[in-house]
């Protein structure tokens, strides 16, 4: 870097991050060195180019809030549904197990219920595996 001004100090000078004492020291070096003046002019030009680049995202863009809100509140809904179903199922099993029905009927009904639940769980698991391994699941457009 030109003179006794390090590249870091030059950046901090350009970005207004130096203390007043440091700034005075850099400005004194700047007055004494044409090479440093050239460097500063180049980087100031670059900064000015960025001012031209400054842009404002279109005001027509829809806020992401609706989508964010749906996603952040969804787990609460699922938790509530799962908790409700679990309570009802436990109660149902209790009522069924303590009812004065023939044990063979209980066994047959229980086997049907467990079979349906197992089939349901295996379908969900299969769908989840397919979704997880789908290389195109992130393609929206």
């Amino acid at each position: 870097m030109a003179g006794r001004v390090s590249s870091d100090d030059l950046m901090r000078y350009l970005d207004g991050e130096l203390s007043p004492e440091e700034r005075s020291r850099v400005e004194a070096e700047l007055r004494a060195s044409t090479e440093l003046q050239r460097e500063v002019a180049i980087y100031r030009g670059l900064k000015a180019d960025f001012q031209e680049l400054s842009f404002h995202p279109s005001t027509h863009h829809k806020s992401v809030w609706d989508r964010v809100n749906t996603r952040v509140t969804r787990p609460i809904g699922w938790l509530s549904v799962v908790a409700g179903v679990a309570v009802w199922m436990t109660y149902g099993v209790y009522v069924f197990a303590t009812s004065p029905v023939d044990p063979w009927e209980k066994l047959a009904t229980g086997a049907v219920a467990i079979g349906i639940l197992m089939l349901f769980a295996s379908v969900i698991w299969e769908r989840y595996r397919e979704w997880d391994e789908d290389p195109y699941r992130g393609v929206h457009r």
């Binding site: 590249s7 870091d8 100090d9 030059l10 950046m11 901090r12 970005d15 991050e17 180049i42 980087y43 670059l46 900064k47 180019d49 960025f50 031209e52 680049l53 400054s54 842009f55 404002h56 995202p57 279109s58 005001t59 863009h61 806020s63 992401v64 809030w65 989508r67 964010v68 809100n69 996603r71 952040v72 509140t73 609460i76 992130g138 929206h140 457009r141």
Partner: protein
């Protein structure tokens, strides 16, 4: 947004009340979107990154230290989200769609067609330069030059020591300068 109000909103969100998250999203969305557009290079991917960043921020609020400001923490998550998306197959820096999706700056119409054409050409050159210098250089330039963050804030967002910011900026600016010179030489 006032720091006290922001802290109170974060505190309420931490206790599980999602409705208090809306003012935070609305407050940080404009800057977040600009930052994401500059990182991703197109509006659609930027919106996806922004949405995911807000969701990840909410999901990790329990780890957030209320003594710290919310902004740099959110921008850090957004920056990581943009980087993840650029690394994955889901997105790539693509400047093609930018011009039509981004509003012109105030006063563009008064500059006249020739000035506007020159400005658009310079803008396109700079975007292409930013595309070529890679994510690491681009992100620090975007934070400094487009969003005007102070070195301390940049250090928090990029998770680097504050003393490293100046050196990273120097290398990024130097790389951009070299790329722009090469591009100018390519197109006489």
């Amino acid at each position: 947004m006032q720091p006290e109000l922001e802290r109170e909103l974060v505190r309420k969100c931490k206790s599980g009340d999602a409705k208090f998250y809306e003012p935070l999203v609305r407050a940080y969305e404009p800057v977040g979107l600009r930052l994401a557009i500059a990182m991703m290079g197109n509006v659609e991917d930027a919106q996806d990154a922004l949405q995911e960043a807000f969701i990840k921020t909410y999901d990790t609020l329990h780890r957030f230290d209320l003594r710290r400001p919310f902004g740099p923490w959110f921008f850090q998550i957004l920056r990581n989200q943009c980087r993840d998306m650029l690394r994955s197959r889901k997105a790539r820096f693509n400047i093609e769609a930018l011009d039509e999706k981004v509003d012109q700056r105030p006063g563009d119409a008064e500059r006249g067609p020739e000035r506007t054409r020159q400005r658009n050409a310079a803008r396109e050159l700079l975007w292409k330069g930013l595309e070529r210098i890679g994510t690491e250089h681009r992100e620090i330039l975007v934070l400094k030059e487009l969003e005007g963050f102070r070195y301390g804030e940049i250090a928090q967002i990029l998770e680097i020591p504050e003393g490293t910011v100046a050196s990273r900026l120097f290398h990024a600016r130097h790389a951009l300068r070299e790329v722009l010179l090469a591009m100018n030489a390519e197109s006489p």
